[in-house]
């Protein structure tokens, strides 16, 4: 187990290193002789640290015990509810006379009622399991992901917020393998798993007993104290083991992971297609109401000019000027449209220059740092560009920022873009549909957006999109 990486959070039990090793001399500490070997000191601080961790882990184990017992009670209740129903039905089917019918008539409603009651209890177990997952991450250093299928009607399609029918909800709960794995965990954890969790506390209690018991021999007392020390020392390890035990039952199975992934892909694909289709409709409408209409008007104006050019050259000249102005407006509209579809600089030069061009058009003080050796695939480049554009628009509109920093880089197969401003903060993705839109657009590429925007600022938005860069085009000049 010593090969495990140290957990990141300070309150999780770390992996103890070799005992009684002098602490590395700190560069800010006493200079000179302090760094030589003969300056070895007994590592009290390290020992204290160890003891503190052991005590914390022991406490955590007791807390897990509190979680285990209700789980056991619930799981037994559920088994008592679920098992007799099918049993009765099987019994009824197995009889060859009139009793069979009666048994079935009795058994079927009983089965339905017991399943319904069981489903309520299973939801409670699900709550306990969820708590155990979070605590395992915090206390044992073994984070566990949620394995459940999404609730019916919760995945975006039904935005009316109407609850799915009872039958569908029952099916959702009962057909999810994770539900039954939760039950397995509740049973195992409640019957034997908790022993692991309370072992340190037990050893510690033994130690206390050894000290305070009036009739114990010296050997017994020493043994008991030894047990307590062992318990304290081993507590972090035991908690880690307990976390692994929980993970073996509470983590999503490979199959569940794949199912979740497929679901996620299907959803993001649908959204991407919807966004694309909506975009095309908007372009069509813009062309229809804008440039196309102007061209029609131009044609009519030119025709009118042709009709009167002999009789009234002055008026014809005015009409020609009018037609020219209409063509200028049509061009301006087409330009704006093109800019919204695919900005020219993005097509010409790629993301970094396009963002720079964007900053030149924004009345913000922007510090741009970019480090891209190549170009992402065009759809990703475009999504990233519009995301930055949207974020800058947000900063301009809402943040009242004096300065903004944009950082674009590609590391470890990941395009990372940070947009930070020193405005007043308080940006909330739940309220601003813009941020949601960016999130959706990035999700199509498995990209994510993280935002930190405390009231009073600063606001930091980080986007990550997994992608590879193509080699830069060799310029021809």
């Amino acid at each position: 187990m010593s090969g495990e990486a140290n957990p990141g959070t300070p309150d999780t039990p770390g992996v103890p290193g070799t005992e009684l090793v002098p602490r590395a001399a700190e560069p800010s500490g006493v200079t000179g002789t302090a760094q030589t070997r003969d300056a070895w000191e007994f590592p009290w601080a390290r020992l204290g640290d160890q003891a503190r961790k052991g005590i914390a882990a022991t406490g955590h184990g007791l807390a897990f015990l509190a979680l285990a017992l209700p789980g056991l009670v619930l799981s037994l209740l559920i088994l008592a509810l679920v098992l007799p129903g099918p049993g009765l039905v099987a019994y009824g089917l197995g009889q060859h006379h009139n009793a069979a019918g009666a048994a079935l008539v009795l058994a079927l409603p009983a089965l339905v009622v017991s399943l319904f009651l069981a489903s309520r209890l299973l939801l409670v177990i699900r709550g306990l399991a969820g708590l155990a997952r979070r605590l395992s991450g915090r206390w044992c250093g073994v984070p566990i992901a949620d394995p459940y299928l999404p609730r019916p009607g919760a995945d975006g399609q039904k935005a009316d917020g109407e609850k799915a029918g009872l039958g569908r909800r029952l099916a959702w709960l009962l057909t999810d393998p994770a539900t039954w794995r939760d039950l397995l965990w509740a049973t195992v954890n409640g019957s034997v798993g908790w022993l692991l969790a309370v072992l340190p506390a037990g050893l510690l209690a033994l130690g206390v007993l050894g000290v305070v018991a009036p009739y114990a021999s010296l050997d017994q007392r020493a043994l008991a104290i030894g047990a307590a020390v062992l318990g304290l020392w081993a507590a972090p390890w035991l908690m880690r083991g307990y976390g692994y035990l929980a993970r073996s039952m509470l983590a999503p199975t490979r199959q569940a992971e794949l199912a979740l992934q497929v679901r996620h892909l299907a959803q993001t694909r649908t959204e991407a297609l919807d966004t694309g289709a909506a975009e095309i409709r908007r372009i069509e409408r813009d062309l229809h109401d804008g440039a196309q209409a102007r061209l029609v008007a131009m044609g009519m104006t030119l025709d009118a000019a042709g009709q009167i050019i002999d009789t009234n050259p002055e008026a014809a000249r005015a009409l020609l000027h009018e037609a020219r102005d209409a063509s200028v407006k049509a061009l301006a509209e087409l330009r704006a449209l093109v800019r919204g579809i695919h900005p020219p600089v993005l097509a010409d030069r790629g993301l970094a220059d396009a963002v720079q061009a964007l900053t030149l058009d924004t009345p913000l003080r922007i510090h741009l740092a970019s480090d891209l050796h190549g170009r992402p695939a065009p759809p990703i480049e475009s999504a990233a560009y519009f995301a930055v554009s949207e974020l800058l628009a947000n900063v301009t509109k809402h943040a009242e920022a004096r300065e903004t920093w944009i950082d674009i880089r590609h590391t470890d197969g990941m395009l990372r873009i940070g947009v930070t401003d020193n405005g007043h903060g308080g940006a909330d993705p739940a309220r601003g549909s813009g941020l949601r839109g960016i999130e959706r657009r990035l999700a199509a590429f498995d990209g994510v957006l993280a935002i930190s925007s405390p009231l009073g600022g600063p606001t930091a938005v980080t986007m990550e999109i997994p992608c590879e860069l193509s080699l830069p085009k060799t310029s021809s000049s």
Binding site: S327, V328, P344, V345, A357, D361, P363
Partner: protein, 214 residues
Amino acid sequence: MRVVIAEDLFLLRDGLTRMLQAHGLEITAAVDNGADLLAAVTKDQPDVAIVDVRLPPTFTDEGIRAALAARREAPGLPVLVLSQYVEQLYARELLASGSGGIGYLLKDRVFDSAQFVDAVRRVAAGGTAMDPEVIARLLARNTGNASISALSPREREVLALMAEGRSNAAIAQRLVITERAVAKHTASIFGKLNLQPSDDDNRRVLAVLAYLEG
């Protein structure tokens, strides 16, 4: 005046050639790509090159790069870049490629042939011709600038025309005021922006653009 044109679309190349010829300019070559432009510039030694931004083979910013290359090859070669859109990024790069003799205009500007030919002549003479849209966006970017806010509306109009590269005479004609009035406005603008006044039209324009680009 001798002109080289680089424009890949036949209709526009042909139209430009005819329009400039109608105004008495001599077209020494009309080519459709950047490499031919460089060759024509070295061979014909034109007074000005008119270059489309998008040229083969990449159809991206080929024209900008060809223009910059041509100016490296023939320092001081006046170049007027035409485009369906204008970008401040490209305007900056062009302005940075040497002092003066540079133009960057939307293709729409050819609709007003008199104005357009005026811009060609201005660039050929070593002046500047920045598209009003570039200037408008530069000014929009400077809305928060206290010195610019301190300008009167008329002064802002003069500033915009000056930034496009127009001379006092042209500004006076455009705004239907006397040249003396324009001179007064420019002196006031330079005072408010804390810029060194200059009689040289071109140096003046560059100072203003540098100021706006901040």
